[in-house]
Amino acid sequence: MNVLLHSMLGLPSSGKTTFLAALWHVLNAKEIECNFSLDKIEGDVRYLDAITEAWRTFQKVPRTSMQMEEKISLRVKNNLTKELVTLEFPDLSGETFERLLLTRLIETKKFDTLSSSDGLLLFITADKVDDGLSILDVPAEFRGDSTDGVIPEKDWDAECVPQQVKIVELLQLIRSRQLGNPLSKIAIIISAWDVITGAGPNIQPIQWLAREFPLVCQYLDTNRECFDYQVFGISAQGGEIKSELSRDRLAEKMEASTRIICAYDGKINHDITCPVFWLMSRD
């Protein structure tokens, strides 16, 4: 049976584990039509069950710590071709990637897994803070006075690097050791997509990425010989779960899978398998 390895890449709190939790629920519950379905439970799924329980009960899905890194294995059936495939998802913590950027070191075993992946799921949260703002981006009258000390002066450290620069550097680091590899397939998942859909006019995930992470967009676009990519807007939780009102509204849904939002290719549905299915496709 074909085995496909899909590594999940992203900074801390970018939605990797919540995505896995929602995916496991959708495959288990079979509430909605999906591109592929669970064929058989293989191995120990306690970790998946634990994170999915948090998702089902509207709790914040616990982040993966470096000590908790797991490799998830799912045996699924392609509903179109009926082909059986084992999907493997090494769940690396965001801290692993932060440390890689800081120390320029990663355990070779982890890196070999990353670089030999059949596809990458790159997570970027839409619920981001504006970083990398230049003083000149702020109108002069709001810049304050150097003596008012509203924000204490701070020396540079790696934490100061804007998210979009970190993401480009991660992709560059991985690519720098993949010389000779023809093409990396990357499904870019803009997580917490409900923040965007609830905020105003309709915008496509690729447009949002170009607006908010222009360096990432330029890098991917000018390296098309290295990257085949698609951008998906995904809300695995479906909405804000800290707000009681929003959480109750989500809980009213008869089928929990329908709280999931997946925006892709101009359409919106609940099928969280879309990015993985695109990675599985051979075109």
């Binding site: 070191l105 990663i106 810049r143 100061c160 620069v165 222009p214 890098y219």
Partner: protein, 351 residues
Amino acid sequence: MNNTEEFLRCSNPDCQKEKTGVCIEGHEPLISCPFLKATGSPAVDDDYAEDDEKELSVKIIQETVKTMFYNGDALITESVDFFLRKKDVRIISIVGDSDSGKTTLVCSIYEKFLKGEFSGLAFKGSQTLYGFEKRVHYSRIDSGKTTPDTQRTSMLDGLRFFHLSLASRAEKNREINFMISDRAGENYEEARSNPAAALRLFEIKKSQVVALLVDGKKISNPIQRVSVTQSVKQMLRILIENQLVGLDSVVQIIITKKDLLGGENKDNNNAFIDIFFNKIYSEFVDKLGSLELFRIAARAVNNDDLDDDGLPLLLQSWSIVKKQLSKKIDYKFKPETQFDQMHLRTIKREE
């Protein structure tokens, strides 16, 4: 596993580190070389080091087998040399006194791409992203400063290069790799008065573009403007006399901080710049491939009256410079008239 010894092998096929013990990219210590890769054996003892695998000669202490990457900071010369073997590179030398705006110019170009495509070019990559980030920190809100600043380049840093790989949209994404020099201004101040020091600026001879920066703030000050312009003229003279620039060189005079040249003295300032450039042009242009004037405001604090910061035109000029200009020029042709000289300059520019 704690404190076990590991061996690293260099993945660069050109590197003879195993035999010579010297990193081809000049990384010191060797562990900082991005091409070193752990061989995969988690536990290595002294016996192992003495057997047939002895050639794996770099020992380090670490807990687990790890893969190492480039550090992301500004590059040393050896790294640029290594890069040159793989890719076509344009070396841009930024020459100027302390506080003339050298690092600010380079960082401002980088920051343009953080906001999107710029001047018909798109970001394709950089080996020095973290180097840029360190230098721009004091221009960011997160630094806590209220007036933008740039981290000064120290004499201790020596010669470094920032890397920018860009794709030209008008030319089917043709890749252009810039290596932009970064030295402390004191190096240039010394070289201006000391030919021996000038000869140490070896990167200038290898450059496709030599940009001489003139601090616009000093030009706006009648007390300082003669001094600052004569310093640039002397710098150009010493570069020519020591054959660091010549008939194959594209030289640019760049007036920085042009936002400070406005106001009531705007016309006077501009007239002074024009006179200065005309004199320098007539004196030196025949000894150079080309000599051009640019006015920029890389980081204008008050940019309300500024319609253009001058950076798009400057970056375009770096992008269209042809390599190895000298090899295409017929030096046997001796221009005798003003027309001949103009014709020759046109040919050089077109080539």
